[in-house]
């Protein structure tokens, strides 16, 4: 089975800190994604990547950046954490080729910014 591992389950950071959220997948998937999930707003795409060193903005990229130096690892960076970035962050990966683009999600990181 594909495994998508997020480095932390719970994280508490202070306003203004630089925060790194790490995601690693072990099945050689080309595509990787970062979403955030908030009550009443559902899942919203922050950034995604189709290949190493490649990144595309999603629907809510402001305040975030990403890094993909290796195929298996996709990092989300909060340059200067703010309280409105308190959220559940979900990483996912998927293959790029047919017949199945099915996503596999990590278990999530619940980030609290105080």
């Amino acid at each position: 089975d594909v495994k998508v591992t997020q480095s932390s389950r719970y994280l508490v950071k202070r306003t203004g800190e630089k925060v790194f959220l790490e995601c690693v997948q072990d099945m050689d998937h080309e595509n990787m994604f970062w979403y955030r999930q908030d009550p009443g707003l559902g899942l919203r795409l922050i950034y995604f990547s189709y290949d190493v060193k490649m990144k595309e903005k999603g629907d809510i990229p402001e305040g975030y950046s990403v890094s993909r130096e290796k195929k298996e690892r996709f990092s989300l960076i909060l340059e200067s954490a703010s309280t409105n970035q308190t959220s559940m962050y979900l990483c996912a990966s998927s293959p790029r080729a047919l017949p199945n683009y099915g996503y596999t999600f990590g278990s999530g990181t619940r980030l609290t910014v105080v």
Partner: protein, 109 residues
Amino acid sequence: GIQVEQSPPDLILQEGANSTLRCNFSDSVNNLQWFHQNPWGQLINLFYIPSGTKQNGRLSATTVATERYSLLYISSSQTTDSGVYFCAGGFQGAQKLVFGQGTRLTINP
């Protein structure tokens, strides 16, 4: 923009009941997926189903792409089926997904 709408938003059933969850999308899709989010927040992929019908145990899904909807059927519900069910669509060849708001299913013993 592109919309994915799910209904009903909430569903409460007794164990053993059957249920149908619906997903409507505003444009043609070539990537339609159903997920279950358990009470601990883990999202599990149930089906990748851009068209046609698939079955996996007590769960089945049907997508009618020409009419822009998908249905998820759960038969003989169990308490472990509780959680939030999301559908998500990808459009025009893009592999990124737009998620619906989810259906919260509660199965009471």
